[in-house]
Every structure is written in structure tokens, then in C-alpha cells.
């Protein structure tokens, strides 16, 4: 909205020349972050009360590890708070006519809706396992992946040039390693499903998922800024993506909303993000990574998500289903540490540290090419 105001009313000859500030991505990013944070702080307590009143509380189920009864009754669907903060601030500060921005917002809404539906079913059926079936969730994720792939790879709809859209870029390599063309659809679909589910798996402790998500948003925001500038991208040998810089503003809004949510979600949590938050965060971040051609960087920056998802996969599919034994004490990984006697808040902080290291590593790939 502020960008629109600048475009409509900017006049270099009078006081309205100050509106030029809204032209700069840096200024709007700072504004978006602060706005999203404040929105969360203001809306948060009201939303928590409202969720409690309507009975939207956690339907804990026995993992065999946690004393889940202690957390039963904590309001869930806190993802709504993140989405209100991030999308609300995004609408205020981003150039909403930018295709990169609205595609990411669409991802947030789609995955937020999917997660909310899952949470609502669990609440209605008073069971932590009776939400949407796995098949329905995968189907919705795949549908979105196909839609994004369609928009991205059809030249008239794509926000990037056709040549860049179908190319596979890897970290540490200056040039595209493969020209995949339409085969890129599969990569986008698989990546969309993986990114949203990774965050979903990680969301198992107070503050555990939100900090790595915030750090991943920060990394993607930095990449979007660089790729959206002709001079920086040329200097670092990246493909220039005109308009991608606008994603920095949205990433900043997401970062602010994430920190605002952490205010309430820090141990002991007053609210959980639920699937409404974890799927939406994963979906939005995944879509951003696809749009700026940094899918692998997403997995480096979100290394914690990868660790968690990998441990869960190894335990469930290789250990319990194939070998008939556990590989880890418990899975995902944070439950293994909990089982070994480490306190929840300590595990969360340690995972934050690991996430920060991964994020720094991801930023380092920018120069190591």
C-alpha cells in the first residue's frame, strides 16, 4: 500500500517528496518487520483469549515420550497470528502488484487454510491424530506445487525469464547445472511437499520451529535482495531476477511476525502454531526458494528442518517398518534428546544455535562460488 501511495502521489517539488522513502526496499523491509512484530504483539493476547474461548486448544496425543497432558489445553492455530502479521504487514509495505509477492502470499494462504482445516478437524474430533488424512494433505500440497510450477514455467505467466525458469541452480556453482525444462515441474512439486512437511515435523516443542523458520526467511530475504539487484547479482555471478528484491520486504514481514509469535510461543508456550502455522511457514518459504531458484539453499538454511525430517523418515520407514527396530531413541530428533533427559527449553535453544550456524552457512554459499 505504501508503495502504491508513493507511485500515485510522489511529487519531487513539495513535501510529498518524502514519499520517495517508500521506493526503497531497505526502508520498506524495516517497516514491514516492525509492523508485523507490533501487529503480533497487539493481536496475540486477543487471539489467545479468543482461541481459548472457542475451544481451539491443543489435542495432544501420546508420543510415548512427552508428558503431553501438561500441555493439553494450550491454544493452537497460532499460525493465524503469523499469517495476520506477515500478510497484513506485507500488504502494507510490499508492492502487491509484484508477481513474486502475490505468489508467496497465495502460498501462505493456501497452506494456512490447509493447516487450519487440519487443526479444526482435530479440535472438533477431540483427537490429535484425527485431522485431515495424510493423502488429502499430500494431494493439496501437490496441487499447489503443480499450480506454482505451471505459473513459473509458462512464459506469459512467469515472473522470471523462460530460460532461467527451467534451469537448475546449485550452491557453489556459478552457472545452471541442468536445463530441465518441463521436468522442473517434478522438482517444484516434490520440493513444495518437502518444504511444508519439514517445518510441520519440526514443530514439536515450544519455540522450536519458529526460530529456524525466521532464520530461513532472513537468508532467503538476503538472497532475494541480491538477486533482485542487477549490480549485486552480476558481481556474485547470479542470474538477475528483476522484481525478486520485493520478496525481501515480505521476508522481513515474515521475520517480524515470527519474532512476534515467538513472544508468545517461547517456553512455556501460551500458544502453538499448529498445522496452520507450520504448513503455512513451510509453504511460503518453499515457494520463495523456488521463485528465486534457491531450493538447495533452503535446505542448507533450514538444515534443522532437514535433520528433523530425515530422522523421522529413517526411524519410521527404515527402522520401524523395514528393520523392525528403532534407529534413534525417539524421532524426530528433538524427541530423542528429550528421551535422553535434556530439558525442552535447552533442546530448543540448542536447535536455534544449530539453525543459526546453518543460516550462516547458507549465506556463505553466496560468495563461495
Amino acid at each position: 500500500m505504501f508503495h502504491l501511495i508513493y507511485r500515485l502521489f510522489y511529487d519531487p517539488d513539495n513535501i510529498l517528496r518524502l514519499l520517495r522513502l517508500f521506493r526503497y526496499i531497505s526502508v520498506r523491509s524495516i517497516g514491514a518487520g516492525i509492523t508485523a512484530f507490533l501487529v503480533c504483539l497487539i493481536v496475540g493476547p486477543r487471539l489467545i483469549r479468543r482461541l481459548k474461548r472457542v475451544g481451539a486448544v491443543d489435542q495432544a496425543w501420546d508420543y510415548g515420550v512427552l508428558d503431553v497432558t501438561a500441555k493439553r489445553g494450550t491454544p493452537t492455530m497460532g499460525g493465524i497470528l503469523i499469517l495476520i502479521g506477515a500478510l497484513g504487514s506485507g500488504l502494507l509495505w510490499c508492492n502487491v502488484a509484484n508477481e513474486f509477492v502475490w505468489l508467496c502470499m497465495l502460498a501462505g494462504l493456501w497452506f494456512g487454510l490447509l493447516g487450519s482445516l487440519d487443526d479444526l478437524l482435530k479440535i472438533r474430533r477431540a483427537s490429535g491424530v484425527k485431522g485431515l488424512s495424510r493423502g488429502v494433505k499430500y494431494l493439496a500440497q501437490i496441487m499447489f506445487g503443480i499450480a506454482i510450477a505451471g505459473i513459473y514455467l509458462i512464459p506469459d505467466l512467469s515472473p522470471v525469464s523462460h530460460k532461467i525458469a527451467g534451469s537448475l541452480y546449485l550452491p557453489f556453482v556459478k552457472f545452471p547445472v541442468l536445463e530441465l525444462g518441463l521436468a522442473y515441474v517434478f522438482i517444484i512439486v516434490i520440493f513444495t511437499v518437502m518444504s511444508s512437511n519439514c517445518v510441520n515435523i519440526t514443530d514439536g516443542m515450544d519455540g522450536l520451529a519458529i526460530v529456524p523458520a525466521v532464520l530461513t526467511a532472513l537468508v532467503l530475504g538476503i538472497f532475494a535482495y541480491v538477486l533482485g539487484r542487477e549490480d549485486y547479482s552480476a558481481y556474485l555471478h547470479y542470474a538477475y531476477l528483476p522484481g525478486a528484491g520485493e520478496l525481501t520486504v515480505l521476508c522481513s514481514a515474515l521475520l517480524g511476525a515470527g519474532v512476534g509469535f515467538l513472544w508468545f510461543n517461547a517456553y512455556p508456550a501460551s500458544i502453538f502454531m499448529g498445522d496452520a502455522g507450520s504448513l503455512a511457514l513451510g509453504g511460503m518459504l518453499g515457494t520463495m526458494a523456488i521463485l528465486i531458484k534457491q531450493e538447495v539453499v533452503f535446505f542448507i538454511a533450514g538444515g534443522v528442518f532437514v535433520m528433523e525430517a530425515a530422522s523421522s523418515f529413517i526411524q519410521d520407514y527404515i527402522g520401524l517398518r523395514l528393520l523392525g527396530r528403532r534407529i534413534f531413541y525417539r524421532a524426530p530428533l528433538h524427541f530423542s534428546f528429550l528421551h535422553r533427559g535434556t530439558g525442552e527449553s535447552k533442546i530448543a535453544v540448542r536447535f536455534w544455535i544449530i539453525a543459526a550456524v546453518f543460516a550462516a552457512g547458507a549465506v556463505a554459499t553466496m560468495k563461495l562460488r
Binding site: 508428558d67 528393520l323 523392525g324 527396530r325
Partner: protein, 272 residues
């Protein structure tokens, strides 16, 4: 019934039979028989659970075989050991099978077997030797004969869960100076969960073997209670507080002491 059994060939069907077992014992027995004969280990596993749930004692010899069968899936051996501990009899075959399972390569089988021995056995059964071997290796006699035992130097068992369960078992079946020394060594373990179990076991042991009572109280009082498993207070501090007051009373109740064990297999926040 036959149609139900046929349906039970698949895992999901078997699982539904476990959740809603047949009303008659005869039908349950047939269902369990059918499941144990399955080629799918997942179905056999449900069969083991059904045996435990329905207390089908006629299958206990089969479970004894399963728990020591090296080719059997680890989860099945673990569950078989659990059922033997809960439903088994204190006979030589069962004890022998559980002792043999202490050498299993899968840690959950070792922990569950140690717990099963704690449930089933008494000190006079003489099952403490295999527990020393489990903890300190074949040279356990030499290790436990030393004046000071640095547990980190001599421990053979790498899994904290097994060490904790073995400590618990020693609390129930340990005898004399060697059991005392082994438990004292375990109270210095790096993992607070093991220290906690060892302290409770030490109290259970001392309540039975009164000559070690004062020394045990001293070790429990000196226990390193700093741990990284804080909830609202350190759980180990809670244990020590309870233990100290119980031991100071002079006549601690065995059941109260046993109630202080943490259920390592089910989650360390849960007490026995």
C-alpha cells in the same frame, strides 16, 4: 471366527483385533496363534502384544524362544521381554531366556530384559552376575573389586537406557558388596537419568540389605543432582528429596521407594 482370522493376516486387521480382541479366550488364542505364524514381523509383533494384553499364558514358552531368537525383529524381542516380565512366571526357563537377552545387540531388548528381571526375580535367583557383565563386561569381578570405580572408565554398556534399567534391576535382585559397589558406581554416571535410577536402586537395595543402609544414605545425599532435564524443578532433586526423607525415617516402605523409579522406557517424567 475363521473369516476374522483370515482378515487378521494383514497388519491393519491384526491391529484392529488387538484394539478389539475377541470376547472368548478360545478365539483370542486362535487369533494370537494365527498372528504368530505370520511371515510379516509387524503382524507377529501385534500377536505378541495380544498375548500380553489377553494374558495368554500358554504362549509364554513361544515368547521365551522369540526373545532369544537372533533373527527375530528387535521390536518383537523387546515386546516379548516386556510380556515375559509382566505375565511370565519366575521359572528357570524364563529367567534363562531373559538373561540371554541381556546380550542382545539391540538396546531396547537389553533394557526391557533387565526390567523384566527386576519384575520377576528375587535376589536368591542369582541373576545379578549377568547384570554386572552387561554393565562392566567380562572383567566385572576385577572392576568391582577395585577400591574406587570410575564408572566412565569401566562401563561397557553404551546405552543410558540399558544402564538405567540395569541399575533398577540391581536394586531388586542385587546381593552383597558387589551390587552395592556397582550401584554406587552408577550414581556417578554422566547421564542424570542413570544416576537417578541408581540412587533409587541403592535405596531399594539398602532397605533389603541393612548393613549397607548408612553408606547408601550417604551416597544418596551426596548425589550429583545437577541435570539438564529441568521441568519446573530438577526431577532428580525431587527423587533425592523423597529418598532422603524415606531413608531418614529408618523404616522406608519398599513400595514407596519403588514408586520413585522413572519409567525410562515410557518417558522419564513418569514415575513407577
Amino acid at each position: 471366527m475363521l473369516s476374522r482370522l483370515r482378515r487378521a493376516s494383514g497388519y491393519s486387521k491384526a491391529k484392529s483385533l488387538l484394539d478389539n480382541p475377541p470376547k472368548s479366550r478360545e478365539e483370542t488364542t486362535k487369533a494370537a496363534e494365527s498372528m504368530l505364524a505370520s511371515r510379516k514381523w509387524q503382524v507377529r509383533n501385534v500377536g505378541v502384544k495380544l498375548i500380553g494384553k489377553a494374558a495368554l499364558e500358554e504362549f509364554l514358552p513361544r515368547l521365551r524362544g522369540m526373545v532369544t531368537d537372533r533373527r527375530e525383529a528387535g521390536i518383537i524381542k523387546r515386546n516379548a521381554a516386556e510380556v515375559l516380565g509382566a505375565r511370565g512366571r519366575r521359572d528357570s526357563e524364563t529367567v534363562r531366556a531373559l538373561v540371554a537377552a541381556l546380550r542382545d545387540p539391540y538396546w531396547e531388548v537389553r533394557s526391557q530384559s533387565a526390567l523384566a528381571l527386576w519384575h520377576l526375580c528375587r535376589p536368591e535367583d542369582g541373576v545379578d552376575e549377568p547384570l554386572y557383565e552387561l554393565l562392566f563386561g567380562s572383567k566385572h569381578s576385577e572392576v568391582l573389586g577395585r577400591p574406587v570405580i570410575y564408572v566412565d572408565e569401566y562401563l561397557r554398556e553404551k546405552s543410558f537406557e540399558v544402564r538405567g534399567c540395569a541399575a533398577q534391576a540391581l536394586g531388586g535382585v542385587g546381593r552383597g558388596e558387589r551390587a552395592f559397589r556397582a550401584l554406587v558406581a552408577l550414581t556417578t554416571d554422566d547421564k542424570w537419568l542413570v544416576r537417578n535410577q541408581a540412587a533409587v536402586a541403592l535405596a531399594e537395595f539398602a532397605a533389603r540389605e541393612r548393613e549397607f543402609y548408612r553408606s547408601a544414605l550417604g551416597w544418596v545425599e551426596r548425589l550429583d543432582v545437577v541435570c539438564d532435564g529441568s521441568i519446573s524443578i530438577f526431577p532428580i532433586r525431587e527423587s533425592v528429596n523423597h529418598l532422603t526423607s524415606l531413608l531418614r525415617s529408618g523404616e522406608p516402605d519398599q513400595a514407596q521407594i519403588r514408586g520413585l523409579y522413572l519409567q525410562l522406557m515410557a518417558g522419564w517424567h513418569r514415575r513407577g
